[in-house]
Subunit: 331 residues, 2 copies
Amino acid sequence: MDPLDSPSSRPNARLTTRASPQGIAADLVAVLVAVTSGEPRVLTIQDQRALPSGPFELAHRSLQSGLRAWVERQTRLPLGYVEQLYTFADRDRAGTAAQHAISISYLGLTREQPAFGEHEARWRGWYDYFPWEDHRVGPPPLMEQTLRPGLKAWISVAPDRAAQRARRQRAEILFGLDEHSWNEELVLQRYELLYEARLIPEATRGNAPTPISANAVLLDTLGHPMILDHRRILATGIARLRAKIKYHPVVFELMPDTFTLLQLQRCVEALAGRQVHKPNFRRLIEQQELVEETGETSQDTGGRPAKLFRFRRTVFAERAIAGTKLPISGA
Amino acid sequence: MDPLDSPSSRPNARLTTRASPQGIAADLVAVLVAVTSGEPRVLTIQDQRALPSGPFELAHRSLQSGLRAWVERQTRLPLGYVEQLYTFADRDRAGTAAQHAISISYLGLTREQPAFGEHEARWRGWYDYFPWEDHRVGPPPLMEQTLRPGLKAWISVAPDRAAQRARRQRAEILFGLDEHSWNEELVLQRYELLYEARLIPEATRGNAPTPISANAVLLDTLGHPMILDHRRILATGIARLRAKIKYHPVVFELMPDTFTLLQLQRCVEALAGRQVHKPNFRRLIEQQELVEETGETSQDTGGRPAKLFRFRRTVFAERAIAGTKLPISGA
DNA sequence: AGACTTATACTCGATTACAGTATAACATGT
DNA sequence: ACATGTTATACTGTAATCGAGTATAAGTCT
């Protein structure tokens, strides 16, 4: 029976703007991203099993400024870019502890920072949580060894032939199997599928006692789990960022003041989880006049010294509105 | 002074996931869209000055299902597509009544429906609220007559030369002035600018006694106002929908079961607020195999009878994932 | 000096975007 | 019956862009 029809839902709810009488708690959850030495990292707490979060204060002027406030106070990180991700309230996902809570999640970009030990906050590579998302050196072996058998099992236990075909098609598109090409933006959809298929630990927590393929070894290799639905929120953040860097100059928020074009490229590759074509990347960056030469060169390249560039903050205003283009070859 | 540093904000907020002790109210606000006889319409209440909204029920399984539940119960509209827009809590914007409320806004698409009088819910063309957004027959005269003088005044009262140039550039890009081309997706940014410039009534409500250009006649022509920040939410919905139809087959949620290609085109044009190139539109629709012929024709075209088409729901699954393309030419 | 690594510049082909034009099949008016 | 207007449908051409490949320059390392 649909829980929406349960007697506890008020039958005389009106189309008015009157606020709900009973209060609920609202938490701000942050996906803070930095790219350190070519690896995308995310700030975690609680033994790397949770994203930093804090209560929404009524004193805050807005949600975004509220988030900015406590993040900068707690971590001393300068937040270059902040964007709201999604608001969650699924009881299914939240476990038992936070049933009456709403989670408003945010994506925040910051520069490389000194380690900050307070509150046991630590940076961790985001591919530790999503090992199947890193295709920079081709599809990871995990996909053939672990993912494909797991998906195959999930497909085979579908109720009927039509459902099996639907599951197979969905899995093939999302994970780029067979003739389908890998689409790096479908991070959230892939996580949702693995959740549905009970292939990740979070899905078998609480309400589902016997998963379809309760293979402990299999589950262990599919990335580090997190509390509540934090891994889902992280997936949302990665997906949003991967989509955003293609038409918005937010990558520069993650870069140091001066950088070489290859460093910039490596940063984009780290985020996108795939390689980009070097000549085309350089062409697009330069022809859009997003960067300017500093006149100096970097000699710790191992080869020919590379020109150092600096982001042209003057064009940020227009580009932020009008958009940018980054070449991340898809198919 | 920044309100974030006010003494009422808790200085010892921690990086934990503990919920906030005091509760706050959460409202669901819906932007319900239908396209009736070539006009995009939105469902309104309270004498067309508010969007339908309702309290978030703890009994609901999730936010989205909560919204679906009360919308379908109250309006009897079949919601084809539902998507979360944004969560607002700005005290500045919310006026005085709803300071402690969070608004979680959703976009919902529905088919043409019989008029539904209950709760004084009425459909209204969304260009009544954003007259400057309709460029289907070229830039509306309102732009030259009202908008440009208003923007000019706003630019001229900037503190210094640099700020003036920044304002001018921003206005030119957003409103497609001079050499800049019109970008139909920047609905929210345009509204934000007009709000900043105090050119719309909501901006001068409450905290701002004397607006820069308190020209009542000018203000009156810049669209129908709404309560609280509902017009901003509507702008968010329009912007999201305009962006979405380009790569996601959601238009069909707004169409009747069978339709001609021109009807489909008119629907897209109504949403995008601009004309599209007919041959290219047809080519893209057909080559993507999104539709199939019903075999019948429609003869109330005035000219040659048009083939009737039907959306191929079978490809929806893959297209919803892999994406689609609609040609909306942006210079 | 030679091998190697990286930076930088240039070229080429395929695809796509965008615009224009031509013809077909109806309605309406005279 | 015929001209005219309107819409549907099909086809063609051009410019821009994307993706991939190649060549050369300028350093480091052994």
